[in-house]
Symmetry: C2
Subunit: 320 residues, 2 copies
Amino acid sequence: MYFEGSEKKAEIIIDSEQMSLLKDIDDSFWATLVEQCHAKILSTISNQTCKAFLLSESSLFVWADRIVILTCGVTKLVNSVEYFIAQIGQAKIKQVIYQRKNEYFSHEQLSCFGDDIKLLSQYVEGKALRFGELDSHHTYVFHQDNDFTASSTDKTYELLAYQISSQASIALTTPNLSAQEIRSFLAIDELLDGFIIDDFVFQPFGYSLNAIKDNDYLTIHVTPQESSSYVSFESNLNLLAMAPKILAILSPASFDILTFNEADFHGLTLKHIPSDYVSQSLVQSELTNGYQVAFANFIKPQTSYSQAKIIDINGENHAL
Amino acid sequence: MYFEGSEKKAEIIIDSEQMSLLKDIDDSFWATLVEQCHAKILSTISNQTCKAFLLSESSLFVWADRIVILTCGVTKLVNSVEYFIAQIGQAKIKQVIYQRKNEYFSHEQLSCFGDDIKLLSQYVEGKALRFGELDSHHTYVFHQDNDFTASSTDKTYELLAYQISSQASIALTTPNLSAQEIRSFLAIDELLDGFIIDDFVFQPFGYSLNAIKDNDYLTIHVTPQESSSYVSFESNLNLLAMAPKILAILSPASFDILTFNEADFHGLTLKHIPSDYVSQSLVQSELTNGYQVAFANFIKPQTSYSQAKIIDINGENHAL
């Protein structure tokens, strides 16, 4: 059984002097927004500065002046972005950033990144870049190119783990796992202190978690099945510092780290990435909107041979 | 400008006591066969045991008892295989092997491997395996599962190079290169001695070469453009032994080696693969038709940062 865990992601920043996305927008707007890409809201948590929605396909975070939305599977997130722009109005929007990473099964997707930026370009003038090589892990970033300049304190981190260890995959595909059991396995209590947590266990497999504390947020999405395992962490907390713990638990064959505005990316990777991983890609660029973006893909070199994966000829092989 | 260099490949072995594919089949059959996947024959060379066709999309080799066909781009090679089976008849066919590797732009393809094996399974009972991880380079192999047993002397080698060095890419995208200039760059004279050679330079870029000598064959296909560079070698000559020379010329960021019936795959990789490459995947399996198949993907770890690739928003981005 295959599932596309890879997320598309959008961040949209508005002029908070004109409106507050927390006070001036009600939840029915967000429900309609996520419906545009065929996702739905499962549950909500909030504090004074942030509202976090757990979705049937990943997560939506709303602050007064911005949203961050991630959706996986075959969702067409660009439709939700288009809806936001159309409803809120371009005059209030300071910055649109739209990201898309290489999928496991890109032929199953309803659009490609090229299609998506063609659509977005009808609304906002922008630039696009690719971080990483085409034949390996890579992330595309489209961003509005206007007079907006990012604050250097606006930092975000993504850690994307692929091909987690058999032990981790087996543990996370145990039937009828509770959310608490998955939190324990992922050592959430050690990673997060004092956060409000909202999580959901999907059937037959899969797990999503949103966590917020003041202005901090973390979201985790787990696609545990061994054939196409993928676990993503996205946060404004320093995931490079958390990487040793996360990698010890999941032991992925490969992982990506993407950061916005982490000035010491290289130093932190040297400090925190275990030495049994090597870099396949190392990319750094400054976007014209002021964000310093860094991307690295790490792999664990293999020294022993595995058997080829046997494919069930009569199975659902549309994803292959 | 993007081009999908990745090939699909088929090998079909017939009962040579019932017919000879060289003597009993004329060239119009092969022309029609390759038309089934929208390729066409550009030129032909032959010796007493083999006829080699250079195609608009890669190559077809015909011996008395077998064919090997490779096609790149968005060709649907499975249609040519279906045509062969239908025309020659299942009773004369001893073995069908159909391979497909992960593409750069899989969403551009007319079918996926799952679709292809569903079609082939209507004609031949088979098995399918995947060599390599889903999130990195991998090759799917479908093979007929019958009483055929491969000879241990039936060896083939593939060396697939990705992201060749800037210098190699620049050299191979020089306007108006002659075939002789490309042969010199690839040091064909050092690799091959006494072979009949047929090659073709595509416009604006691209190069294909077929070479035969007695029962030996080698085919090379070059997609040199820096955005999606790919160079494939397929032969019954020992490409592991040739790897040091090939890798020195192309200096790819990554390459795959796939062998059928090379018993000392591991020893030869230790001996011939330069130490600045590490293995991302190492897979070995014996197919039920008797072939010992080995696959390895090697990468060159990066230590310095590159800039993100800028994408022309107004360009032809359908492949992204």
